[in-house]
Amino acid sequence: MTEPTTTFPLPPRKSFLSDQPWVQTAWDASSLGVYLKCPRRYFYSIICGFRPWGESVDLKFGTLVHVGMEAYNKNFPSMGHTEAQIFGLSSILEKAYTRLSDEAKAHLEAEGKPAEGFYWRSHSNNKNLWNALRAFIWHTEQFGLEPDFRTAMYEEEVQTSAGPQKIELPMVEFPFQYDLGFEFYEHPIVFCGHLDRVVDTSAGRWIVDYKTTKNTISSHYFDSYQPSTQLPGYAVASKVVFHKPILGVVVDAFQIGVDFVRCGRGHILTGEEKADEWLDGIVDWISQALNSASIPHEPAEDLAGFAGKNARHWKMNTESCFLCPFKPVCASTPSIRGHVLQSAYNNEFWDPLARQEKAA
């Protein structure tokens, strides 16, 4: 007779406890957003790392536009506008390109087939490579040269042959992390994330967030960010990390059509009162999540088994099932949900702190 397993099939992650790998101690807007939609969805996707098979076009497209903007903002205005655009364009192309391994090349050449790498091909007429390049160039043409909207700089000490020297760096893809002021059994709980870009204007400092959408950019579109799970967190980050308040968040939106892109800019004011209210709210929500996490979870040999045994600790919000990727799982009989997860989902584990380190 084999011994029952005592291990957990979850990988070690920086944002989770090592001895209780379902307890998240570093939270970001994405994981909190999933929890707010539905605790069960949070358990399946953030804790257990289940993702539906197939690529997320929205995620891939958003990443391409972000890498272009990042390269442009890091190089302009220290370089010229066109030069910075070339950097951005090169970054997008590089990110969209897959090179073949030597083994794959040899295999294809032996079969007399072309052994070239390839660019990302999308299943969307809107969100594809050419439109990512178009979004990047059209946006930087429209907004890149605005004089009173400059990327903020910060000083960092670097070691050179002449000793330590301070250099100025642009605040682009700028990581932040702050203590939420409470603990889970002596482990401090933190909130972390990235700021796409920090800008200084004559009126004060703003944080810029890039959003791509198929919707028309109007006042209704920008209103959808008030209130928000994500944006007030930037105001708190600014206060805690920079010791400097911000006026708010600039949402730089890209409407992606099949043959055009419209770029729009909305200003979302995030005053101190709003930021404090947001902070109180997320502390309550994360405490609630940690209450569920504090229930001892049963070990299992594989992820599907772990999910099947422990999902009951994470309540379903049945008002959030529309378009939820886990709807087929929750719609099935509880005893077979592990099998549904195993057959229709793959695994990709969310780890906000590891993501920050990778970006740095």
Partner: protein, 89 residues
């Protein structure tokens, strides 16, 4: 239904014929003039789209984006696929 679901297409997007050859190559092999060429084409499309959209708005109409940014290198009266085919012959 989420975006792209159930569709059979797989595309790089509507890249003008004059630039399609660049997207058969490793990005590291692209020269600065070639990258500049891509940027100039996208700038041209933006200006044409903005102009067509302005005209359409003045007339209370909607802009036809595809027509507005039409690729001047595309032979008139031929579809993109046929034009590519003829180019390869």
């Amino acid at each position: 239904m989420s975006e792209g679901e159930g569709k059979e297409i797989s595309t790089l997007g509507s890249i003008p014929i004059s630039l399609q050859g660049l997207f058969d190559r490793d990005p590291l092999s692209l020269t600065r003039p070639e990258k500049n060429h891509i940027i100039e084409e996208l700038r041209r499309q933006r200006v044409q789209f903005a102009s067509a959209e302005g005209e359409a708005r003045a007339q209370g109409k909607r802009v036809n984006a595809k027509k507005a940014i039409a690729d001047p290198s595309k032979p008139k009266g031929l579809s993109i696929d046929l034009a590519s085919l003829l180019k390869d012959i």
